[in-house]
Symmetry: D2
Subunit: 159 residues, 4 copies
């Protein structure tokens, strides 16, 4: 009997994923900032992570090169030193390629935000020299190293 297109599609399509983020650890990023990986898409270089920053913490001045960034604020307040707006729960942010900014949390509450990233994050010194950069592979290696050091099972987040 001939295979229909619907049968073929069901057979060949990739698996869906439903990931409980409560089961994934927070990985130290800077002194008062952590990320929690959600997805590593190594076919396109995109990745998704939660970011948590304690009051007084920051993500140093950086440029997004080669891709756009989307963010949905879940908890707390944060802003970019270079911008006027303040993100709070329910604020959605779009950052265009080329954007340079410094993320700060001045409030009293820890912020948690979902970031969907394309391209590369380049951290800059005061003279705009790149000090180091984050891409999908660096984030994946940080996750791998953290799991090894802490004897935690890695989830299948490469998809």
């Amino acid at each position: 009997m001939e295979q229909t297109l619907d049968q073929f599609t069901e057979l060949i399509q990739l698996n869906d994923r439903a990931i409980d983020l409560n089961e994934i650890p927070w990985i130290p990023q800077t002194e008062r900032a952590w990320f929690k990986p959600v997805r590593f898409d190594i076919a396109t270089g995109r990745w998704i992570n939660l970011l948590k920053v304690k009051p007084g913490g920051q993500v140093n001045r950086h440029r997004h090169t080669g891709g756009q960034v989307l963010a949905y604020t879940i908890q707390g307040e944060w802003r970019y030193l270079e911008r006027e707006w303040v993100a709070k729960p329910g604020t959605f942010v779009y950052e265009p390629p080329g954007d340079i900014h410094t993320l700060v949390v001045d409030g009293v509450e820890e912020m948690i935000t979902l970031f969907i990233l394309e391209g590369t994050v380049q951290y800059l010194d005061d003279e705009d020299k790149i000090t180091y950069q984050d891409d999908v592979f660096r984030k994946l290696k940080l996750y791998q190293d953290y799991c090894k050091e802490n004897n935690i099972e890695m989830k299948e987040l490469i998809y």
Copy 2:
């Protein structure tokens, strides 16, 4: 004086956006379901919306054709009739192109989920015929029509 690449980039790059989703209305989608638009990307056909479904409500059986879907559950519980997993706050979902499913909310709490959509949503009858379809333009028109009927100012969500 010559323009540096950094100066050029800052001049030419698109504007960032910070959108307070509390200022955007919930738009009726079915009897017990609403969407709240977040972004209409008419250059790529992608769109982003929050979905709210009351207990007992559902999103009828549909196929995602021509793109993948990402979802982050903010509140409540939901599942697909065709799957085993149940999404709750903090569950992240990836749906591959070709996926067919029926979204239901059995719990007692309203669910709210952020959906990032590519491609087209095709609603199917029992014989897998397409009854109608959602794409970035239909969602945008629903938003426009709702704002007109209710005398609400449209936000700039085409970006």
Copy 3:
């Protein structure tokens, strides 16, 4: 010895591909049109194919829903009945989501064009009803069926 980020990246990155399209068959699409598959990206729903149309042939009126299309003309001339321009070797075309058009080849030379497609192609009758649609899965099934029928080895074009 600790693994550097460069070593990690080289280990984990996907394989590159170099595909000689001369080794892939032309697959009949309509009476005077053929496609030659180049890539089936089932993670995003995108696909790439060459299109060949003989003089007098056409690709019936269709809408691109849920994605954009890029095209690079390699040989011959072609146009859309609904547009003023004529594509010839070296013409690059961008088609936005939502675009509806009918491809015709009036010249004396066979046209060959590289198409990079996102979303879904919906063929429309005179009343704008969808008669059938092409997506990454239908194109892949046509390739599979053609190879089976003609006893041709399928190349690894899912990547």
Copy 4:
């Protein structure tokens, strides 16, 4: 009279583009290499260009970070020092994020290839330090500067 979805879509959709690449200049990139811009997508950071390299010319060792690359060879032969395959007319290439390679043209014929790029190209010295990088903005500035210096009208390639 009420607006249909088809009417709304036709009204709101972006314009298509048909660009005759013969009207765009070749811009010097290195001593024996030129690029011809096709598209600058500053919303996503992607860009498209033709690359022309004379025999004996090369594109120095570089890494693609934050995005994938697609290439279609139009004329001539080329290869990466780090790979076994040789591209010739009709060879299609996929380069994954993270890939590092050095493009060389050993043949007697000028090569011309269409490249569709995401992310950022980072040129590396012998110790893998970044010497400089190409992104959509640098390519656009090179195009702008070349047109100004040579009194050539810029085409609308930002789309």
